[in-house]
């Protein structure tokens, strides 16, 4: 815990001046766990994290939104099934589906991805891992779509390592939609190596048609700071591959060179 991590629902600005004017909302539902981590990742990526509350339908003028990981409402029903009906989601759905030139960029991580599928912002659904256990491990992914607001600073087919940790991470989708996703290049992240959960076509993350909404099961926000990330070739917990997700969206919001 950091002294400068605000309490949930506290919208006061942090003491430190933001590097850019990119304001990125991080939603907290009851049972959300990785909201502070996502806020830290936004800060390290150069943006200003803004805490958003599930019961508040205002997005507080943010430029993008992250739905972080956790077990919203305990996930005793289908993961994300209750959170999808939160007041804040109504606004997010409208903004994300806006037919304007630049609809709201939305990133769903883990439980956030599950919420995005429940909200029908992304196709498919998540079921229990094929081995029926919670799994926490460093996971290699291939970035297959660098055209989204969240992946613009990766190189095509770049291999990245980020932690994954979930119980319901098996991505399932019907054959027709799967073909569409593959044909349109909407698989953004794919598992490399042995499948961690039995997902169809080893899919770890997908995007919508316009590329503003992205969901993935692994946790890029846990790979943003050397010393606290996954293990990689440079050593123990040195991996920071996830940071590019956050610098990508800040860059795209501030008109930086993607």
């Amino acid at each position: 815990m950091s002294a400068d991590t605000p309490l949930i629902g506290d919208h006061t600005m942090p003491e430190t001046a933001p590097l850019t004017d990119a304001r990125i909302g991080v939603v907290t539902f009851p049972g959300t766990l990785d909201d502070r981590d996502a806020a830290r990742a936004v800060r390290l990526g150069g943006g200003t994290p803004v805490s958003l509350w599930h019961a508040d339908d205002s997005l507080h003028e943010v430029d993008a939104v992250i739905l972080p990981g956790g077990f919203s409402y305990g996930d005793y029903l289908r993961a994300g099934a209750i959170a999808r009906f939160a007041p804040v989601m109504n606004t997010i759905i409208v903004e994300a589906e806006a037919t304007t030139a630049s609809p709201l960029p939305v990133l769903g991580i883990c439980n956030g991805f599950q919420i995005l599928t429940e909200a029908h912002l992304l196709p498919g659904s998540m079921i229990k891992n094929d081995h029926l256990k919670f799994i926490c491990r460093d996971q290699v992914l291939r970035v297959e779509n660098t055209g989204t607001a969240w992946t613009s600073q990766f190189t095509q087919d770049e291999l990245i390592t980020v932690p994954m940790k979930n119980q319901d991470g098996q991505y399932v989708v019907d054959d027709a939609t799967l073909s569409t996703l593959e044909d349109q290049g909407r698989v953004v992240f794919r598992y490399v190596g042995e499948s961690p959960n039995g997902s169809r076509n080893d899919i770890a993350g997908v995007t919508n048609e316009r590329g503003n909404v992205v969901g993935l099961m692994p946790h890029p926000e846990h790979a943003v700071e050397a010393g606290y990330g996954p293990n990689d070739a440079t050593g123990l917990r040195e991996g920071t591959d996830g940071l590019t997700i956050f610098t990508s969206v800040v860059s795209s919001l501030t008109g930086g060179n993607a």
Binding site: M1, I8, L33, A41, G74, Y76, N129, K133, F134
Partner: protein
């Protein structure tokens, strides 16, 4: 609601002849007589319920108290300088500097986890986490020391997967990284697994909260989950027909957890603390409302008045006694000023947490509990919470202890024909690493979230769990738990000291300065003088060793009656040590890193012929003799060397030698990142006068293996020489070889073990028993 006969105080005074089921509630005759004496009348049914649970072994520590006193007595002023809250509160609190403090505690949930592995283990996490919250702290991590029966026993097949899933299911849902613990297999834990749980939290000094009810007129509020019939201690007795014929049917004594409710409760409490809305707070654990009301009231200045019908229930048919005893999870009790009541309710509403105002703090010195206006409890709360019986139970050294200690490994049949050739020694190392206790535990730990929070700098399988506390400065903590029950069985005094020594060494090996101790003392029945002797010896040993190492016990837990069908577990004093980092980025990992090719490998410490109780002896089915010698001065010096070396960036890997000795440490340092080594035992054998077998498998204490760049060798050995601590260059890290090569005075040169082969043998042990790797 009032559809059963309420036993009021007036009724109790009028009907002194009424028989109460005190014996069935676990009270002894003299204990019941004492209650009569305290009250000057017979207790009401509700009062009897309160006394029976609060005077139980679990809540009152009646058998252990006379021994536990040593933790408070064998201390120096120096040891207490960082201690903000000591033993007796929900958890001890230690100053970390910079306005930060840390609180940690370890507890057992052994019996519930045996009866219902998933819920037992889950609620064990829930309970210890609430202890941490009640100090005003944000929980930041958990650890789980686990002990199961023989890996191939059907009971272990039933218990282990449920326990692991329960810890994961509950802990992962709270957003707390699981940073370490232990997994031990031994047939003594068959039908009596040990499921201990440690939680740690951090707070700013000004957020410290204590469990007391002060300020006359302040309100008492119960919040969180509703009270149900689950977890009623001795419910089967309380609900018996002879007690009251109108009660609901018998209910299970195992609690059921709701991690979502707990997560919301954590955030809700932190918001209360942040806004300074509570005067005192107490979690509801064992003995539920009985415990919370009597402890809050007796730790405050006066009394308390409670209307029990205000308690929100899951089941409206619960009797007052059951409500007082229910151990439903995810509940907290707080004391709030009338001015803050509205703000308190706003926080409850925000988080969707139910609450009920139960009553208020009074200056009567009495705890009065009413049921619909009728007084059903009128007691001095101290008599319930603090003045329980104290027993100085008889104990004596078991008659078999001497026989056990003279049966040394070397003198036994198992100790004959030990491997001496390079080939046999190499095979013995592989065999050791693929024994259940030395095998890879990631099948278990990969089911726990170690990343959440973004502050985990080290976690299993490193020597200590390391968590950053402050983003800006890198201030942080290191934690380890250890116990070798085989050592404790051979000699409980020394065994407890060895548990502390190993935990201390682990924390220092990671680079943290040890600050405080929490213990979970798991033993058999205190009514058996042999067991009571083990307990007394272990406590004495631990208290003496804490004094010598200069770190205080800040809290803990005693778990007795760990025996099934008359067969007790080994004495298992699990010791947790907490240490401090000024900057956690200086932490030292336990394995050779990929870029460390060519680094020097040094062994610190002295190797003696100490194989009794060792992992090698276990592989040969032997347990007897004397555990390794304890040398706390050496442990302290070694600790200082490691802490300095970490802080000054001299070493890049460090791993302590414990179970399996040098062989296991070399193997583990290579398995961590798949980086091999080349070492020689020649000098070690010559210097310490041991043979290669002993050099590899002896479990002498105060030893650590480190790797360091050649540029640091001089500075490092200057430091060890200046402190007079033995340091010997064993060899080098070899990133290219893909194996562990060991030379020595063997009959046939050196042996090499391929890392691929070793990893396969080491990592397949647990998945092969419990249904495949977690992918």
């Amino acid at each position: 609601m009032n559809d059963f006969n309420i036993d009021t105080v007036t009724n109790a005074a009028d009907t002194p002849e009424t028989e109460l089921p005190w014996a069935e509630l676990g009270l002894k005759q003299d204990e019941y007589a004492r209650i009569l004496e305290i009250l000057g009348r017979r207790p009401t049914a509700a009062e009897l319920a309160m006394y029976s649970v609060m005077w139980s072994e679990h809540c009152s520590y009646k058998s252990s108290k006379v021994h536990l006193r040593q933790f408070g007595e064998k201390v120096t002023e120096e040891m207490q300088k960082d201690l903000m809250v000591g033993i007796g509160e929900n958890a001890g609190v230690t100053d970390l500097g910079d306005g930060w403090a840390v609180t940690f505690k370890i507890e057992s949930h052994n019996h519930p986890s045996y009866v219902e592995p998933y819920q037992g283990a889950a609620t064990g996490i829930g309970g210890i986490v609430r202890d941490i919250i009640s100090m005003g702290a944000r929980p930041v991590g958990v650890m789980d020391p686990l002990r199961f029966g023989d890996i191939d026993h059907p009971d272990t097949q039933r218990v282990l997967p449920g326990v692991v899933a329960g810890i994961g299911g509950y802990g992962n849902s709270l957003g707390l990284p699981n940073v370490g613990g232990e997994v031990v297999f031994d047939s003594v834990y068959q039908q009596n697994p040990l499921v201990n749980a440690l939680a740690v939290g951090v707070l700013k000094h000004e957020d410290l909260r204590l469990a007391n009810a002060s300020g006359v007129g302040n309100k008492v509020v119960l919040f969180g989950a509703r009270t149900g019939g689950d977890g009623i201690g001795g419910a089967s007795v309380l609900a018996s027909e002879s007690f009251d014929d109108t009660k609901p049917s018998k209910r299970p004594a195992v609690q059921v957890g709701d991690p979502f409710a707990e997560k919301v409760l954590i955030e809700c409490c932190l918001e209360l603390f942040h806004n300074n809305l509570v005067e005192g707070i107490q979690d509801l654990g064992a003995a539920g409302i009985s415990c919370a009301t009597s402890e809050l009231a007796s730790n405050g200045e006066g009394g308390m008045h409670v209307e029990l019908t205000n308690v929100l229930l899951r089941d409206p048919s619960l009797t007052p006694g059951e409500i007082l005893m229910s151990e439903s999870q995810e509940r907290m009790m707080a004391v709030v000023t009338p001015e803050n009541a509205a703000n308190f309710e706003a926080v409850m509403d925000k988080w969707g947490v139910e609450h009920s105002w139960l009553g208020e703090v009074t200056d009567t010195g009495r705890l009065i509990i009413e049921w619909d206006g009728d007084t059903i409890v009128d007691v001095d709360p101290r008599t319930v919470a603090h003045d329980g019986p104290v027993y100085d139970r008889p104990y004596h050294r078991p008659e078999w202890q001497d026989r056990l200690q003279t049966d040394t490994f070397r003198s036994s049949a198992a100790g004959g024909d030990l491997p001496a050739s390079a080939e046999d020694l190499g095979q013995a190392v592989v065999e050791l690493m693929s024994s259940p206790n030395m095998a890879d535990k990631s099948w278990v730990t990969d089911q726990f979230d170690r990343f959440v929070g973004g502050n985990t700098a080290l976690s299993q399988p490193d020597d200590a769990g390391v968590i950053r506390v402050d983003d800006r400065t890198g201030l942080g903590i290191g934690l380890a738990t250890d116990c070798n029950d085989r050592y404790a069985y051979l000699d409980p005094y020394r065994g407890a000291q060895l548990a502390l020594a190993e935990s201390y060494r682990n924390v220092a090996t990671a680079g943290a300065v040890p600050l405080a101790v929490s213990d979970c003392l798991n033993f058999g029945s205190p009514e058996d003088p042999d067991i009571m002797w083990q307990f007394a010896e272990a406590v004495r040993g631990l208290a003496d060793a804490c004094m010598e190492l200069g770190i205080p016990v800040t809290g803990g837990n005693v778990s007795l009656y760990n025996q099934t069908a008359g067969r007790a577990i080994h004495p298992t004093p699990v010791v947790g040590v907490l240490g401090k980092f000024d900057d956690v980025s200086r932490r030292t990992p336990s394995g050779f890193q990929r870029w460390a090719d060519g680094q020097a490998i040094y062994l610190l410490g002295t190797t003696r012929d100490e194989l009794d109780g060792s992992e090698y002896a276990r592989m040969r089915g032997h347990l007897g003799g004397q555990p390794p010698a304890v040398d706390l001065i050496a442990e302290k010096t070694l600790g200082e060397i490691l802490i300095n070396a970490s802080r000054d960036g001299m070493i890049d890997a460090a791993h302590d030698l414990s179970e399996g000795g040098l062989a296991a440490a070399l193997a583990e340092m290579s398995l961590r990142f798949g980086v091999g080594s080349r070492t020689s035992l020649h000098e070690l054998c010559e210097r310490d006068g041991v043979d290669p077998f002993t050099a590899l498998f002896s479990e002498s204490q105060a030893r650590v293996l480190v790797s360091l760049p050649r540029s640091e060798e001089l500075r490092f050995t200057d430091m060890t020489t200046a402190r007079g601590f033995p340091a010997l260059r064993l060899g080098v890290v070899d990133a290219e070889s893909g194996g562990i090569e060991v030379a020595g005075a063997f009959q046939d040169g050196s042996f090499g073990i391929g890392l691929d082969e070793l990893k396969e043998a080491w990592s397949s042990v647990i998945p092969s028993r419990f249904g495949g790797a977690a992918a």
